[in-house]
Symmetry: C2
Subunit: 540 residues, 2 copies
């Protein structure tokens, strides 16, 4: 069916112009632009603007604690209609079932959603996650689930050391002309050269103008990140100019659901870029054409002939409310509300993922020993230090409990810096193996929050004798509930954390989720105990 959008201000990202004209679409494609004779099915758009809908070039659904379909409802409502998603977290927990679930949950969503094959499951050979995915299995899963490329290659050491399995994984994607995403925080010079040479196209771990310019100069596309934690737009956008703009795209990486619901995803990056001095059409170009081209999604990212009718109609170029979002010629969202029906995939194979031996109070007991190392956290940082303490004043107890294979393994240590005086926290979000991590003083309280997680997993806080529990029944990472319910429950959790007496510079749930990740120095707690990244060994 043909529809004519009459007298609309078309944003031309090729010529960098805005021109009032008519746009004719036929089903899913734009078929004519210019002065076009009136037809029956016609919308007068006088005064309105039409620009291409956006692409989020790198994201993890899991970070939102929402299932993909709920995440997409919100993201599409704000004008993003293409997503390059790396199901790294759920794959660490559920293996193949995780990938299968993600593919099924997005199946009927009106958007271009490309799923990458997670490159590092587990993140390191020492992880106790669900499964090990080697190069052969990586290739098998990629073929079986029609995955789009290789997700961010975090095994930098493997790449720099020519690790055979790592290079074999990458080779498959290079040979098949598929994208391999990078992850190269703080790298430069010959190390960066070697990393790029191995096959990585993109990097979203870019924090400064200088880092951006070096990557661009060497042939990479820089993914300017607008995450909930990592807010890089204002700094990195300073690297962008008229000459190098085609080497930049936007990504979100990790988004919390409150931000998704209130600000959307890429549109918020567009606004920030403009606020930082970037021209409006250039901001749209970074958010659309550049991303679609980098990810080889043809005939998308511009209002042009033969292009898919994926666009936004808005009353102005302010990127606020009153957007109409079209995908394949169909109106899929209006006024920041998605209009499409969702058929949720079954969670049967990705739920009840907490598989632990029954824990007794006795299992959690351990005594302070001043000869043993203590983990010190640094507010505002994911880096930790190995220290020794004279006594256990100002220390908290922390546990990492293996939860995939019912091994009964429990790592224990004292941690300094939280200064938690009351209550306890336990959660199944603990990168990248997502074992249970628990924090507190009183072993009984700690046992209570661990038990509160049940077999589903999630986040539990005990304070003032009351337990607040956010059930994350998908892999212990995401909720199967509608986003509004999840946001409400997260609000209760937030209130509970406010009742905790502790160092208020810390977001304890976020920080705890990184204290098992033996990638960031120095010492981290796994279910096998404290591990030093610098010393490359367990240190108890």
């Amino acid at each position: 069916m043909k529809t004519l959008f009459k007298n609309i201000n078309v944003v031309d990202v090729f010529n960098h112009e805005i021109k009032e004209c008519d746009v004719l679409i036929d089903n899913d494609r734009i078929i004519s632009i210019g002065k076009i004779d009136e037809i029956e099915n016609m919308v007068d758009c006088k005064g309105k603007y039409m620009y291409p809908s956006f692409i989020d070039t790198h994201l993890h659904f899991e970070s939102s604690q929402l299932r993909p379909s709920e995440y997409l409802k919100l993201a599409i409502a704000y004008g993003t209609t293409a997503f390059i998603a790396d199901p790294h977290e759920i794959t660490n927990v559920c293996g193949e079932d995780g990938i299968k679930f993600i593919k099924e949950d997005i199946k009927d969503i009106p958007a271009d959603i490309k799923i990458m094959m997670p490159s590092c499951v587990p993140a390191t050979p020492l992880e106790y996650n669900k499964v090990k995915i080697d190069a052969d299995e990586t290739i098998r899963l990629t073929k079986k689930y029609d995955l789009y490329g290789l997700g961010e290659m975090m095994d930098i050491i493997g790449v720099l050391n020519d690790d055979k399995e790592v290079l074999k994984k990458i080779k498959y994607f290079k040979d098949n002309n598929m994208i391999v995403d990078g992850h190269a925080p703080l790298m430069s010079g010959i190390f960066l050269d070697k990393y790029i040479l191995a096959g990585m196209y993109t990097d979203h771990e870019v924090f400064t103008k200088e880092e951006a310019l070096e990557r661009v100069s060497k042939g990479m596309t820089v993914q300017i990140r607008n995450g909930s934690a990592a807010k890089d737009v204002e700094k990195v956008i300073k690297a962008v100019n008229k000459d190098n703009i085609s080497s930049f795209v936007f990504a979100t990486d990790d988004k919390e659901p409150e931000e998704l619901a209130s600000k959307g995803t890429i549109i918020d990056a567009v606004k920030k870029a403009i606020k930082s001095g970037i021209d409006k059409i250039d901001a749209i170009k970074i958010a659309s054409l550049n991303g679609y081209r980098t990810y080889k999604l043809e005939k998308r990212g511009a209002i042009a002939i033969g292009y898919y009718a994926n666009f936004i109609i808005a009353p102005d170029l302010e990127f606020n409310k009153n957007l109409e979002v079209y995908y394949m010629g169909k109106l899929v969202a209006k006024d920041n509300v998605s209009l499409f029906e969702i058929k949720n995939a079954s969670i049967l194979n990705v739920t009840s993922t907490v598989n632990i031996k029954k824990i007794e109070l006795e299992d959690l007991k351990f005594n302070f020993d001043k000869s043993k190392p203590v983990m010190e956290i640094i507010p505002g940082s994911l880096i930790t230090k190995k220290i020794y303490c004279k006594d256990d004043k100002e220390l908290n107890r922390m546990y990492s409990i293996e939860r995939h294979h019912k091994t009964g393994l429990i790592g224990k240590c004292f941690v300094k810096g939280f200064n938690l005086k009351n209550g306890a926290i336990a959660q199944t979000i603990s990168h990248d193996s997502h074992n249970i991590i628990a924090l507190g003083n009183d072993e009984k309280d700690i046992l209570d929050v661990i038990n509160a997680l049940k077999t589903d997993g999630g986040i539990a806080i005990k304070v003032d004798g009351k337990i607040t529990y956010l059930e994350l029944d998908i892999a212990g990472l995401m909720s199967s509930k509608p986003y509004a319910e999840v946001i409400k429950k997260r609000h209760e959790l937030l209130e509970a954390t406010h009742k905790l007496s502790m160092n208020n510079k810390i977001n304890p749930l976020m920080l705890l989720s990184f204290l098992s990740l033996i990638v960031i120095p120095d010492i981290k707690l796994t279910c096998n105990g404290l591990y030093s990244i610098i010393e490359r060994k367990y240190i108890e």
Copy 2:
């Protein structure tokens, strides 16, 4: 083997910068850029410049009258190392054998040479060329010879009328994500929209700034043409600015050998663009990165990590002499001389292509009849007019002789405008069927030049009783001889044409080659007689 280019001014087409640094290559790839420790195999390049080698995005080897390997010797010597070639002419004469020959002749040349499948063989259903290549045959040949895309789609009428065969041809390439080149002279508005929608990516038939901007706005890549006849750079470059530059590339389409030998191909376009006011780095970008990206030749077109070591080292950015051209890390040309060995393909299956019945003097006789139409040519144009004359003063005799199938068909007419007083010309270059076209007054002279073409074909001129003959033993279009010999013989031909007493505003050989092409209005001479494009019928 590793080579270090020390202290070289690297042209960074991504960031639009020139920076002195070191470039390390390992065999065929660039593996590091920056400050690099000295190694044994090192070249001090202090003061020199390094920039990516060029790509010619659309060309026909046949126009040079040189075989591909000889053409490439010259083009590579001037810094072009990638070629998108459409063997349209030889395929009209030799069919599959023509494609096979081209593929074999380029086999060992150090350059990226992609052969397109000619889209229109024959150009119109009325042509008496060697073979008809329908959609199925197009697909078969594309697969068999690993062709890269569909050559310029000249059948505009077929596209606009939804001709099934034409759309079926295009569909195969679209479905396989392969390039389909356009050819859309003077098109605009809804006709251009329909043409683009059908699948055409590019257009080299662009003559003005406005035409360029419309095509860019609608999603096309504009191929700025620097041919020997069509010199479009100065006009079209005016459309290019910092915002839309990535939608422009360079092409040559048709080059004469003298220009190839003295000016090269794309480098000459670069110089003209700069002379017209384009920034030097931007000109390099159009000539390299933009073209490689449009034609999906990955890891080429920039001095960047993991990119193929295809570059030019020059003493300055003047694009003159003293170039060193590297392809895959090897020096392939120096000081405008190619350094590689050529293994010529056998011409056995593409030679002796003139297959005519013996022609008697009697066959060429015909009388003037003032009731019959006469073709009038217009100096400086390919357009002709249908006129009637009172007498045959100022008229010449013209013939089109079928030469593929020995049918004995001879089209005859009088032509006005050459004012040829002495001598005769015959040639086997006659677009697109490449039958013999002959011009003169005296039937005996005309028979002599026709017979001079023998079974090989070529160009023959008789003047002052002497015949000068350029043998074009490959399809009657190209010579199997080295370029220097061809250029020398062409010089003799030129001297012979200077001895002809005729309208000196006309290049008779060039013009004759278009007087059978029943695509450009109005009347043309085929072996079946005079045909009117406007009336769509034979008019005798």
